[in-house]
Amino acid sequence: MANILLNVLIAFLMGSILFGLQRKIMARIQMRPGPPVIQHLLHTFKFFVKESSFPKTAAMPFYIAITAMLCVIWVSAVIVGPVTQGSLLLIFAIYALHKIVEHNAGSSSGSPYGKLSCVRAVFSAAAEVPLFAVLIIIYFKTGTMDLSQIIGFQTTNGPLIYSIPLAAAMFFVLILSKAPYSPFAITKGKDIISGYETEHFGLLRGYLMISESIAWYMLLWVFLTVFIGGLNPLMYLVGMVILSTVVAFINATTPILNPNHSIMMQASLALIGVVGSLILLL
């Protein structure tokens, strides 16, 4: 139990600070001073002490339950990942549930902005789920979907990033899609205010932000674990900082894409990733 709590706390703190770092780097590239690195963390805490209000148009209790569900599924991801090193397929299922919650957090409020974000989330699932499915290539290479066995395989045969680089690149595109201000972040485009979070205030927003931080940490953790291997905590930290920095550079220099272009680009990259990786394996 203590191990779970410790890992969840690390995931939340690291995810929040990496988000803050990303905003800072983006700001410096754009010649702005930018917020402090701990801004995202402070923002999350702030929402826990602010007044919570619920729109009278919301679908109750679904509107509240959906934020709790998001938190629960990402805490489950921490248990499956860093704590027990369970099945990669289980993390895939958790990611699928994340897409469902993202979609319904938007539609449950009755807001037109949330609704647009919801429809975009449905579209984006068509591209992001195939990108996540690129991890199946790992099964063809290693013969297992168990994280501890995948780490063991890499200890003997070297990091998978060298043998299946296209799969790693595709997974990186998925990580990029989940970053705020990314060219693929269509569910939270500024044209729809804050997307699915627009009508979530106070405590509920706090839960959404905690979940986002844990989700960011987990995606980076999965990337480093399945493509580079079991690292010590310091190397995980270095790896996560490098990945977040690369993402910040891309986000700072590219505009958000039109939803159709975003989906087509992601779907095309997923296709190239799957076909290319299978050819490389033959």
């Binding site: 679908a59 679904f62 895939f92 979609h103 539609s107 449905v122 789920v129």
Partner: protein, 225 residues
């Protein structure tokens, strides 16, 4: 019991005649998640969708009326139970039956709506789902013909043959059509414009979780080693 599937230790199975329930961590997680979401759907009200009124400064409210609410909630619960069944069945034929039921109730959930664009999308999805029935059952039948069994616990130990690969391909096309995932998602996304958030959740939930399950099943049937 010492059966390992895709690196997961099988925790047990419950034989109920020809329905064999299959208990592995992935399947139990997806089963429990589906039941949790179905319970929330069963006890939730629907949202009121607020839209800008045309030619006026007032807002327009789109609500789900009571009779529509009742039938959509019933179908959403049926869809949730069918999805839960598809998550833990250890029998390929039962899986295809659950997926087929999910396709039918997904159309039903949206067919009760009184919006022309949404009904058009549901009609097109219905056509795709009906056409997909043939490869869905054809794929399962081909796997049965080439292996002599539809039990996943038996198939996991059998070497992969060309007909099993061909059957798997048909099965995947069938599931993609029935659940309306890519490349059929553009049609299905239009269905989500209607109010009734809790009911729309189950349409999305069933599609994505069935895709995760079918990937597991395809990896069980097609062993690259």
């Amino acid at each position: 019991m010492d059966i390992t599937i895709l690196g997961q230790q099988l925790l047990g199975y419950i034989p109920l005649g020809d329905i064999v329930l299959y208990l592995a961590p992935l399947n139990l997680f997806m089963f429990a998640s589906t039941l949790a979401f179905t319970t929330i759907i069963a006890i939730s009200k629907t949202e009121t969708q607020v839209e800008a009124g045309f030619g006026t400064l007032k807002d327009r409210e789109v609500k789900v009326d009571k009779s529509e609410f009742k039938i959509r909630r019933f179908l959403a619960i049926v869809c949730g139970l069918a999805t839960a069944g598809a998550m833990i069945t250890g029998d390929l034929f039962n899986f295809t039956l659950f997926v087929c039921l999910i396709g039918i109730v997904n159309i039903g959930i949206v067919a009760a709506v009184k919006q022309v664009d949404v009904l058009d999308a549901a009609f097109q999805y219905g056509l795709v789902a009906m056409i997909a029935t043939l490869p869905l059952f054809g794929g399962a039948a081909m796997i049965l013909a080439s292996t002599g069994t539809i039990s996943l616990l038996e198939i996991v130990d059998l070497p992969t043959t060309f007909m099993m690969v061909f059957g798997s391909l048909l099965l995947f096309i069938g599931v993609a059509g029935e659940t309306g995932v890519a490349p059929f998602y553009a049609t299905k996304a239009e269905m989500f414009r209607t109010p009734g958030s809790p009911f729309l959740l189950i349409i999305h939930l069933s599609s994505l979780l069935v895709i995760v399950r079918v990937i597991e099943i395809l990896l069980i049937i097609n062993k690259p080693f």
